[in-house]
Symmetry: T
Subunit: 72 residues, 12 copies
């Protein structure tokens, strides 16, 4: 594929999940894959999260950029 | 709301206004709210502006990221 | 034009070309111009590329942000 | 004062206000001044905000660092 | 809660754990929650770790900022 | 004007004002316009300020870059 | 050990693994430990990954710096 | 020359050219060389450009720092 | 010590000294060690200073982060 | 290839060429390809250059990172 | 002085000295003080240096910004 | 030398010394000069250090990049 002309677009999304950083990434990737376009790769920008009243992490919030080929 | 699975998208927009930095942000937020989706929050990236021939600021240009929930 | 209210949107795209950095930028600009909207300007974010088995650069990959006015 | 030995501490706080960026900064400065120590200066780190259902900015959230002299 | 005046403080802490990045974050969050104040959220700054003589990761060291409301 | 050859210079200045961030920017822009050259635009780099003994902001200090065309 | 003269070298490597961010780090650490030198610590620089046609993450790519003592 | 005491100044300029990034750099270097002082080196800070109504790049705008020795 | 669970806190302080950068760091470290807690390490963030009317440096101002273990 | 375990190493090199940014990149890539290992890709870090007494660019100096697979 | 309107300019200079980082800063400050204007403060941007054939540092090159009040 | 084709490599090393920042840099430069190659220049990346139980700095740890020409 290298050497052929092509154009990609990157979009910034934020996934949220209780279990882990990886689950939050997969959550954002799945939604973007379904609503935007067939994705090629992702890049993590920020990892954040919410803390409950008992001091336990209640969710991970991961900001990623996802990339897909611009067709047409 | 914390703890439930959800995905947000961030989009970069630039608002322009004569009066103030806040007016430029509101201008970008209003347009994005109308043409893109119901916004949740914004983050300022850059503040710039144009200067007239008399040395007075003629407009503020504020680059922001706006975020909204990806539904569906 | 300065002093009138208007809003721009920035989108991140990646152009690929064999010849040069400039060709990769033009490739991304042309595609974005056609599929997204009439562009006003671009800003280079990253320059990368692929290397073939013979040690020659086989393509330049240039990540840019393109900006266009949000109408409507 | 320059030339005399002294030590400062910086603390990161976030002020929230409806009216403006300046009001949010003053809000954080006032609280830190009262609960931490007599402040000398502040440095803005980030400007963010929340958007209501009608697309109007409902509050500015400004992250600042405040500095005060470490005595004793 | 949006729209009401309030002030948060951010503190930088480093959690250490053998198992995973998430365990190191939770470790720092738990300690800060107990010794500092009831936390609202965290932001990951850096992920580092130590390597044992056998080339296995012996611990993850995660630098985070934790935020809590400044009362009083 | 786009497409014609021209060269701009950027200079870093700091404006100070009691009232607001915007007043501090205008103060720096006005002085630079008078003592350096006819400015085209500005870019905000940092927003800082001084706090009085009563915990009130006594001045905003805004670091900006100003740009003007290099003639001759 | 602190206080004795010593010199470390840092090398940038990228580990790839299907399971998790931690597995990708361990993969890079193990290889660098075997082919370069006995490592002391690592620092994560970037987390990226590839997405399959079904929208599932097929691998994590983690860019890290590894450090080891320069002997001799 | 290394080892002798000397002082350099850096100035930020922006060159504009239709043909290429290199032409825009040379344009800024030439003007700065003529109007400021005999330059020693340059460092590219940003590459941007303008896009015409037909989607073609109409000019490259390259922000550089140029350095020259401060004599006298 | 590696492999055992522990949590550190980082605090930002600014030391001032006439003689050298090192003296300014030691000044901040000594004060923080006495008023905050027994420190483990420091990281330099910024080096600044004041200049007297005769063009001589009258003091170095060094911004550092100091780290100590969070016990209890 | 995605999904299989592999490790890459990145090395920072600087290429120098009279003609263009691309020629300077190719120069660094060719040398690294010959003396280090078979390269997979490159990432541009900085573009700098030297200016002659006549104000003409005498060479481009491009700092890049090159990446290759760590075998064995 | 705080609270009165004033404007400062920052200029980037590079000092070179054999002995130490501090000597290189003082060298740049002295020259800027003499040829530009009466300086108020400096901020270190980068510390670099040259190495001789015997592996000894032959000079420190320190990039600083110096600031002075814009009068008139 | 400017204008001739050549390639440099940069390597990241960390020097440690009790006395000063300069001694830590020289320590890293000397070791790299001996074990890697004849160095041309260095660039400071980070300055850190360790603090003893008595609050005195026990060592400076300076992360630098060293550069040397890639021959052959």
């Amino acid at each position: 594929m290298y050497g052929s002309s092509r154009v990609y677009k990157k979009v910034e999304v934020i996934g949220v999940a209780k279990e882990s950083v990886e689950a939050a990434i997969q959550s954002a990737v799945s939604k973007a894959h379904k609503t935007l376009d067939k994705l090629s790769w992702f890049e993590v920008q920020e990892v954040r999260g919410h803390v409950g009243d008992d001091g336990m992490i209640t969710e991970y919030q991961v900001v990623i950029k996802v990339a897909f080929e611009l067709k047409g």
